[in-house]
């Protein structure tokens, strides 16, 4: 009974006092919320993903939108701050009443916003890597597009242990949400593979000198260094420290090791050698020196938008951004409506959906759509036009 009377009171009040100023343009646009940290720490990933998202939205709108309805992209800059992410998630879900939400980008913000969107029942494409963001029961409408942190770490671990045949691992992670979670997962997976890390440390990603940590790792007898941080600055300083103490140990870890910004941070170009990172088949040059066909198409389409010259950002971020919007298009087209429950059902039965970044599969019990087979290990200093060569087998 209470719910009914409250509704009645609200209706009368609402008609009497028109308060909410949210725009009520043609009700039939498809509203997509995009929680991107375009400023603040770790903004490089969001900026690249944003290129892909904008391109896909423009493309779809030019070709008449989805089911004849134009896409309205509501971009909110969370600036890497979880409080803003929560506030914007509330705004998108309840004020703007969006049909879909992409993001947030960083793990800390994801942990704060995903539960809010789940409670509001808004379908959410998760692009944060840490495992705690996905839970079929608690967050039924949250589907992950990006690979899981576990996939990054196990790919890198397999390469270090099976290919490079190393056994004394030093794990260096940053103190951010992502770093802390990754260090825990890395140690767990290494021990499962029978390797106990000889040195582990969490470092503030603004620390300007990692010589201490590298010296301690060497003293502990490490024969491979595995960094888990998305902060390109910290990775650059780690590679510099490795070079300056003259310790030619392989570095295998987070894809940010391959980021173009690293090149400007290095004191010497050769400090980028003997460094490998978890990467993707979709952004790896094949033995014939060519990119996979779908990736090449997107590269050509987006190049003019990125200034026409060589692409200097990690292209897999762009491809993922592009895929998120295409997945939404696929879901709405197949469901024939923007009803959340229908979208959920469609996504739960999506098998081998061919995106640029990867081929996605979700089921009622598995919300991580990225297949292990699409993972690869790249050589860091082979950065060209946003993609890489495969690391030596």
């Amino acid at each position: 009974m209470l719910r009914l009377t409250k509704l009645a009171v609200r209706l009368s009040l609402a008609t009497a006092l028109v308060v909410s100023a949210t725009s009520t343009i043609a009700a039939d646009t498809i509203k997509i919320g995009w929680l991107s940290s375009l400023t603040g720490a770790l903004s490089s990933a969001a900026i690249a993903e944003n290129q892909g998202v904008q391109l896909a939205v423009d493309e779809i709108n030019k070709s008449g939108g989805i089911l004849g309805r134009q896409i309205e992209l509501l971009t909110r800059d969370t600036a890497g701050d979880p409080t803003k992410a929560v506030n914007f998630a509330q705004q998108l879900a309840f004020s703007d009443k969006v049909h879909f939400v992409i993001g947030p980008v960083n793990s800390g913000e994801g942990l704060a916003a995903v539960p809010i969107l789940a409670r509001a029942g808004v379908p959410n494409l998760v692009i944060g890597a840490i495992d705690e963001l996905i839970d079929p029961e608690k967050y039924p409408r949250a589907f992950r597009v990006i690979n899981t942190n576990r996939q990054w770490i196990s790919t890198a671990n397999d390469y270090a242990i099976k290919v490079l045949k190393k056994s004394k691992v030093a794990v260096i992670a940053d103190t951010s949400g992502y770093g802390t979670a990754s260090a825990k997962t890395a140690i767990e997976l290494l021990e499962k593979a029978g390797v106990k890390p000889v040195y582990t440390v969490l470092v503030d990603n603004n620390k300007t000198d990692l010589t201490d940590e590298m010296n301690k790792a060497r003293a502990a007898g490490a024969d491979v260094v595995m960094p888990w941080t998305a902060a390109t600055g910290m990775l650059g300083r780690l590679l510099n420290a490795r070079g300056e103490i003259g310790w030619n140990v392989p570095v295998v870890g987070h894809p940010a090791i391959m980021a173009a910004q690293i090149r400007q941070l290095l004191n010497k170009p050769e400090y980028w050698q003997n460094a490998y990172a978890a990467g993707y088949v979709s952004t790896t040059f094949g033995s014939n020196g060519k990119l996979p066909e779908r990736t090449q198409q997107l590269v050509d389409k987006i190049r003019p938008k990125l200034g026409g010259g060589e692409i200097d950002i990690l292209f897999w971020w762009v491809a993922m951004g592009y895929d998120t919007v295409k997945i939404i298009e696929h879901a709405i087209k197949t469901a024939g409506s923007t009803d959340a429950a229908a979208l959920q059902k469609v996504l739960e039965n999506t098998r081998d959906y061919k995106g640029v970044y990867a081929t996605y599969t979700w089921t009622t019990t598995e919300r991580n759509g990225f297949p292990d087979s699409n993972m690869a290990v790249n050589q860091a200093n082979t950065f060209k036009d946003g993609s890489f060569k495969l690391a030596p087998r």
């Binding site: 705004q91 879900a93 004020s95 793990s107 800390g108 942990l111 940053d174």
Partner: protein, 333 residues
């Protein structure tokens, strides 16, 4: 006196509006924002006694907020202790940390004290990041909901508004009586405060511990409202925000900082480019207020009205009423 009746009338209307907010608020987002304002105000009302009344420049209260939040998230979340009890414990711990910070730093001159509070909030962040197994380190902790009636957004809004009104009532009682005068004397003229016997250090400490308790309670409710807390939620920008609300609202008043809190919380949400500016906006606002109208916007209308129509302050000569004075001096009890 009509100014008195208009004041009580406007307070009444304000109270009705606040109570009925869930019904006229456009949607749940604005309800969330209103609840956020109430949570911030619980801290700022306490901090107002320290900054607005006693004139102690504390720019580290985000540290106390985060202590309240983490205590609540650990007790009610990880340990499953009853949330209402956890709020009390968070408030208590906030008060204790206020005492621990206040004891050594409140004797120091203004700048030293400000730096000590800033350092305190940095230390709290460092410890939270370092104690990974207790606080979840960089990953952070989920902030649990309150039980039955308060788990819905409207229920939670009424809970935090009730607590906010209670804290406001407490600070109003202090501000309008002897303790309030003592605090203001410490702010405006410490020498005069001593002369009438005010225990300056003890009074500063009491105000600071009180603000620690309100910060602890506010932190607990903040954790529940945000549903998840991580170390990067508690940034220095929040300390600046709390502090600027008071200075802009007007020191030595309660309604001024409250209006400051409402405006400064709602503004960045409604005007999105402001959100990006963040600290720059707070810094600019603070500089303008300090240079143009240091008494705060609350007082500005008073000052302008005085300047525009300076009522001819007719100077009556001082004529002592000696026997009334003699009688008054006889009063000894």
């Amino acid at each position: 006196m009509n100014s008195q009746t208009t004041k009580t009338l406007s307070l009444l209307v304000g109270a009705i509006l606040i109570a009925a907010l869930p019904f006229w608020a456009g949607d749940q987002y604005q309800l969330h924002l209103a609840a956020l304002i109430a949570v911030y105000w619980i801290l700022i009302a306490g901090l107002n006694l320290v900054v607005g009344f006693t004139g102690q420049l504390s720019i580290g209260h985000v540290g106390l907020l985060s202590i309240g939040s983490y205590t609540f998230a650990i007790l009610a979340g990880k340990m499953g202790i009853d949330p209402t009890l956890s709020v009390f414990v968070s408030g208590l711990l906030g008060g204790l940390c206020g005492l621990a910070l206040g004891l050594p730093s409140l004797r120091l001159p203004g700048f030293y004290f400000a730096m000590a509070t800033m350092a305190f909030s940095m230390i709290v962040n460092e410890i939270v990041l370092a104690q990974v197994d207790l606080t979840g380190g960089g990953i952070g902790l989920p902030g649990p909901m309150f039980p039955k009636p308060f788990d819905s957004p409207i229920g939670f809004y009424y809970l935090v508004t009730a607590i906010a009104l209670f804290v406001t009532w407490l600070t109003w009682n202090i501000a309008r009586r002897m303790w309030g005068r003592a605090f203001i004397s410490i702010r405006d003229n410490p020498v005069a405060a001593q002369a009438v016997g005010v225990p300056v250090f003890k009074a500063k400490l009491l105000a600071f511990v009180f603000s620690g308790i309100t910060a602890g309670v506010s932190g607990a409710l903040f954790a529940s409202l945000q549903s998840y807390i991580t170390p990067d939620t508690f940034v220095f920008e929040l300390s600046m925000f709390f502090f600027v609300c008071i200075i802009i609202g007007g020191r030595g008043s309660i309604i001024g900082p409250f209006l400051g809190t409402v405006v400064l919380t709602a503004l960045p949400e409604l005007v999105s480019p402001l959100a990006k500016l963040g600290n720059f906006f707070y810094g600019l606002l603070l500089l303008v207020v300090v240079l143009v109208v240091p008494e705060g916007i609350g007082r500005m209308f008073e000052i302008i009205s005085e300047r525009l129509r300076p009522r001819t302050v007719h100077r009556e000569p001082i004529t002592p009423d000696l026997n009334r004075l003699a009688k008054a001096l006889k009063v000894r009890e």
